[in-house]
């Protein structure tokens, strides 16, 4: 990707946003370091797993990205409503798969748990399942705290995300 980054360097931007999933962003991180780019490099939640830090190595240092809170579950304040769910998920994931849990597995976990809730409330047809899901309020999942309605099928607000930065091969929260 040095050719693209050289072109970008030529027009002197204030920052670079790289939106993608591995391995592309890891290559870009390495190439940016090779070219000596000093401007901030922002990436997407598509690389918010330890795999990215492992692939990009030292070049990952200082890169910032928005991410779900699961990456930084252990350093969240105890007052965070998601804290309990996140800590349990990270621990169970580690015990079961012997790997670090990230939000990729977390999304599937949320989906299954939301469905479980709908079933337990007696939904048994597609329309009934939908109606039950739309009644979900304040579900503290891994991807965020979900509150659905018939208008809102995304269910998340801005507070579901934190801005993280790679520091010493780990994630820290940017305040």
């Amino acid at each position: 990707m040095t050719a693209q980054l050289t072109k970008i360097r030529g027009i002197k931007p204030d920052a670079i946003i790289c939106w993608g999933t591995n391995p592309g962003p890891a290559v870009i991180a390495k190439n940016a370091k090779q070219l000596g780019l000093k401007i901030p490099l922002y990436m997407s939640h598509g690389v918010s797993s330890k795999k990215f830090i492992e692939l990009a190595g030292d070049a990952a240092e200082g890169i910032r990205l928005p991410s779900g809170k699961v990456l930084v579950a252990d350093v969240l304040p105890a007052s965070d409503p998601q804290k309990k769910a996140l800590m349990a998920f990270v621990k169970d994931y580690q015990n079961h798969y012997k790997a670090e849990g990230d939000h990729f597995g977390g999304h599937a976990w949320d989906a299954v748990m939301l469905l479980k809730g709908a079933f337990e409330n007696g939904a048994d047809t597609p329309a009934a399942i939908r109606d039950q899901l739309e009644k979900t309020k304040q579900f503290h999942g891994i991807g965020g705290t979900f509150t659905y309605s018939s208008q809102d099928h995304a269910g998340l607000g801005k507070e579901a995300f934190v801005l993280v930065e790679v520091k010493d091969k780990d994630w820290v929260i940017v305040k």
Binding site: T2, T6, G10, V27, K30, K33, Q34, G36, E54, D58
Partner: protein, 293 residues
Amino acid sequence: MQFDQLLQYLLSGLSTGAIYALIGIGFSIIYNATGIINFAQGEFVMLGGMVTLLFLETGKLPLWAAIPCAVAVSTASGMLFERLAIRPLRQPTPINLVIITIGGSILIRGLAMLLWGKDTHAIPPFSGEEPLAVGGATILPQHLWILGVTLLIIAANKYYFYHTISGKAMRACAYNRRAAGLVGIDVRRMVLFSFIISSAMGSVAGIIVAPLTMTAYDVGIMLGLKGFCAAIIGGMSSGGATVVGGLVLGILESLGAGLISSGYKDAIAFIILLLLLFIRPQGLFGKAQSERV
């Protein structure tokens, strides 16, 4: 546009081009010995990187030991491929053989996916990641490794084909298989040799590029096609013309991505490939009906 920008495009293009050249020569060597295009060539490139990783992480070997082991394993799989898939064929028409190599490449890719999963992996660079300044451009020590290793392999290749008996025998097969057989050259052995050399070269290409571009079970497809393109530009020669083909391709891609749009980076290679196949199937430098060695 500034000069240092242009220099950066050229240097980036050269190192990618060197990889294409190595893979392209692998295509040509097999083509010259057997008359077929081995579409499994890219898979040996993938095997080089992935097997190195296996020795590094599972075998706990240091890098300098893991690399020769990986080349040996990839070369052995190239030999096996020739023995099990190419040689037993009762009607070795080119179309049958080419289809078999495509089947073989899908099989190797599938096995690699089952064995190593779909994740991308990184191999540590051979000597650090400190960028080196060249003029106004920067390169990594790994780029020097790529250029150096490529030069070395091309020189060794040249020596083999022009100064050893078995190399000359292989060239004889390329000129005329039947006549080579009549003067006592074991053509089937030469075919096996050609697979050994190409899979070894392919795997080396896969290893030296892995620290820069990462590796995964499916990197062989694209690298293989680019190598094929280099070989076509070079008119399927196993010498200088294919090297030039690879370098030209690498530089054009890099300039195209930098000056036009990165969306066309891969398209550039394939447009060149199609144009050449339509207009100059003998290669950019070859005369029609030239001898391909």
